[in-house]
Symmetry: C2
């Protein structure tokens, strides 16, 4: 094949061949999650975390993905321990995590059990939080409390207010919106073998 | 003031003055939601819908915002009636809806009661769904069902599979990430007067 023909063939080639193979699709999910940890501009940097409110209402908010481990299938989110999401997770320690990554046309939906780490468990993580970021942990009054004016609050770094939500991923639903739509579910219980679903 | 001075003053002016006023902030939320309905490139075009799975696990997925009415405080999402989210909402008809709108630095979090409309209730809406979009409603097997291969499904428009999720907004949590962070909660029960919260 000449260079020109190779280029033309390349232009027709599927840019996302991983979407057609369960193992490759699962790997792509973790590639994207890890990119979120290391690249502040990646889609997975800012997933949406869904929990169940203490009044039973589903709750969703943007969070920052701070760590991802494919082998253990865990994801870390840092939080103020006095936030509503921590109160919610103390009652029902389960969460959904959602990413729409436009570049690979991939929706990642995660189901997880959540452990709330604090105190000496997170000292070594707190030590690595950059000083400006520490302002996000420690608020008077606590996040979500009513205040008399828009700015009637103060932020002051407080290691005692710092916690880590460690999500133990139980299931992943991956949806690829290519020329064909493909969807698969991966579960921890079968070693992430994967199962195609109708999209 | 000369034109040049006016321009300089303008450059220093707060680009989001609405964030400092409860009524203006509430109006901005609806402006952004309505933009999602009418502009396919707006952030609110593709919110994340959170529900509670039939197994109790929080679930979140991208949806398309199809209608928004500020006066009634309702939002519409179109769905295949055989999808998992409909089964979930039949059991627990409550949802969270999340938008991160980067342009105004605004996170919109909505709590809603959800009605599932179908059949003759949605005939007039179905009639306005463009033909290519109708392929999203009607799938064999149903969305989320296991299949033997990635493409072992067929889509065929089916008005009987078409439903509308009508979200009756009960509360809105708005978070503006400007030079100062501001957060407010608006609830239907007090006519959306608004209450500042610590962000």
């Amino acid at each position: 094949m000449t260079g020109k023909h190779a280029e033309q063939a390349g232009m027709r080639r599927d840019p996302h061949p991983w979407a057609a193979d369960l193992t490759a699709l699962h790997a792509q999910v973790w590639t994207r999650l890890l990119r979120g940890v290391h690249d502040r501009h990646a889609a997975a940097r800012h997933p949406t975390l869904a929990t169940i409110g203490t009044d039973g209402m589903p709750q969703a908010r943007t969070v920052v993905l701070r760590a991802a481990e494919k082998s253990a299938a865990t994801l870390d989110i840092h939080t103020d321990l006095h936030s509503a999401k921590v109160a919610e997770l103390r009652e029902i320690p389960r969460a959904g995590l959602h990413v729409w990554d436009a570049a690979p046309h991939l929706q990642i939906r995660i189901e997880a059990e959540v452990a709330i780490l604090s105190g000496t468990e997170v000292t070594s993580i707190w030590d690595r939080v950059p000083a400006p970021s520490r302002l996000a942990y420690g608020s008077t009054p606590a996040p979500g409390q009513p205040i008399t004016g828009a700015l009637a609050y103060a932020k002051s770094p407080d290691p005692e207010a710092f916690g880590v939500l460690r999500l133990s991923v139980q299931a992943i639903d991956a949806l690829h919106l290519g020329p064909d739509h493909r969807r698969a579910r991966f579960i921890r219980d079968d070693g992430w073998a994967g199962q195609w679903l109708a999209p």
